[in-house]
């Protein structure tokens, strides 16, 4: 879309204005993405001197390896767990804060701040609470309730821990969006329902929740994207994909295969699969946005 009134006699200036953005994007996005695509179809010798074109061999290797299937499975559990708990917690907080009158801004502040914590530091903070040897909550679980908690050895404990840490960091984001959506609901609707005798729960189910469902859907997509791509730091700090691959999610595996395993072709093939995944998720998101956003004119 372009402005009806625009500059027509300044073509060189337009290219000049566009140049910095295109330069940065070309060097650090398009060129690497093209490299990934190229590497995904080649095998490079250990010294990086020669590469051979191998068609879909890398993809076949990736898609038939049991480790990759394990990674897909773990990513599915991790992203579902993180998304569901972060969205539900964000919604609950928003509904409660929207309802109370006193100390509203204090509550809001206390819920918003985790957004500013680096994912890796979130991992460190939670590790300190749940470390099997000196974590305060881990010791309480063990001694108080007799639960043999050990995320360093037990795969499900480790998964639970990374989900808690990842969801904790995302709750504030969801809270901000849900609160904005709740405050945008016209008061008259709620009041009319109240006059008709609908209680708080009935009003939430029949009026509030349907009205904020676009936000809910949007947040579900955003949270899945977050769990897929922005949680590297949490995994790296807490479990490093372990124990025994129990938290080896896709984005961690790309890093581990490329930088620790030094298998460029395999890592690039995974990058390409992830790109296809992001494109799919973005398409879903934009289809939904098309329905919601109305441009002027």
């Amino acid at each position: 879309m372009i402005k009806r009134v625009n500059f027509q006699r300044h073509k060189p200036l337009a290219f000049l204005l566009l140049a910095p953005q295109m330069l940065v994007l070309t060097i650090f996005v398009f060129w690497p993405a093209a490299q990934a695509l190229y590497q995904a179809f080649t095998v490079t010798d250990p010294f990086g001197q020669h590469s051979t074109f191998v068609w879909f061999d890398n993809f076949r290797d990736v898609l038939t390896s049991p480790e990759y299937f394990n990674s897909i499975y773990r990513t599915a559990i991790f992203s579902t767990g993180t998304t569901v708990s972060a969205v539900l917690a964000g919604l609950a907080f928003a509904v409660l804060v929207d309802r109370v009158v006193r100390a509203k801004s204090v509550y809001r502040l206390m819920i918003i701040w985790p957004y500013a914590v680096a994912p890796v530091l979130a991992g460190v903070l939670w590790l300190f609470l749940f470390h099997p040897i000196y974590g305060a909550i881990a010791l309480m679980l063990k001694q108080g309730f007799g639960i043999p908690w050990n995320p360093l050895l037990d795969g499900s404990d480790a998964m639970l821990l990374v989900i808690v840490a990842a969801a904790w960091k995302q709750v504030s984001y969801n809270f901000v969006f849900f609160l904005a959506a709740l405050q945008a609901i016209p008061r008259s609707l709620i009041e009319a329902a109240a006059i008709d005798g609908a209680g708080p729960i009935r009003r939430f189910v029949s009026i509030v929740f349907p009205l904020i469902s676009p936000t809910t859907f949007f947040l579900l997509v955003i949270n899945v994207v977050y769990a897929f791509f922005d949680t590297f730091g949490i995994i790296h700090a807490l479990t490093q994909g372990g124990p025994g691959g129990a938290t080896d999610i896709l984005v961690y595996k790309v890093y581990a295969d490329g930088f620790l395993g030094l298998d460029l072709g395999l890592s690039a093939a995974q990058s390409v699969i992830l790109m296809i995944l992001v494109i799919g998720l973005t398409a879903v998101q934009f289809r939904f946005l098309e329905r919601r956003v109305k441009y002027a004119q």
Partner: protein, 307 residues
Amino acid sequence: MIERTPKLDLFCHLLLIAGVIAVCLPLYYALIAATHTLPDVLQVPMPLTPGKELLVNLKAAVERGDLGRQLLNSLIVSVGVTVGKIAVSILSAFAITYFRFPFRMTAFWLIFATLMLPIEVRIVPTYAVAAHPLQGLGWLLDETGLRGPLESLTGWNVEAVVKWNLLDSYAGLILPLMASATATFLFRQLFLTIPEELLEAAKIDGASPMRFLIDVLWPMSRTNVVALTVILFVFGWNQYLWPLLITTEASMTTAVIGLSKQISAAPEAVPKWNTLMASALLITLPPVLVVIVLQRWFVKGLVDSEK
């Protein structure tokens, strides 16, 4: 308030207090650990109230490793990413919405496509580019046989030029993090809502394109710039994967990386949690302060940048 429900209100407050305690628990424990000596922190059960060692631990945290330098690095990186991304984005959004020129739509779709390529996905090749940005040039010179003549003619050491890279440099830390289109879209959306009459009036008054950008568009986008600044500052400060790869020297890395390296490479069997938590608090403080102080802008920035 629609009806009086004292019991339900009390219940809501209790639920909220419980939830807030759960959210703040990690921070509280970090604070407690940072105010005690190491033996106190490691005793079972850990003390539940703050101790008196906070200043000692903070001092130890700053002295151990390069924390002061790394905090400065973090500041440089986050400010660099923020300023660079806003400048680059506002210019390109201006070009796309206000100028008619060949390949305008191509440029738009190229920028749009980068939304789908987060850095985590293309991390290995991006690292390769940053490690050898001029490798293609060296290859080109070799293939065309120009390397020898060029070296003898100009006296340049081509090998040294080709070996130049972005590792352990601010440019290497900042530039790849600037490469994303989200801010361009934000400004494009904003410019599309600005009335056409403003440019008509400016043109009648004889304003040049840059004058229009500086005197009309920039003041009108100021609130969006502040909102975006909060988001980008936090984004830059908290980066992890990219600084982890691109920096090897302790004096060139960011505070977040410095701390996580201390934890994973702790020589002692048990990390010194009291000083580590003191540094964690120091590192978390700047972005948390920015978000809390500029809360209104933060919320606006978050909601806007996703539209």
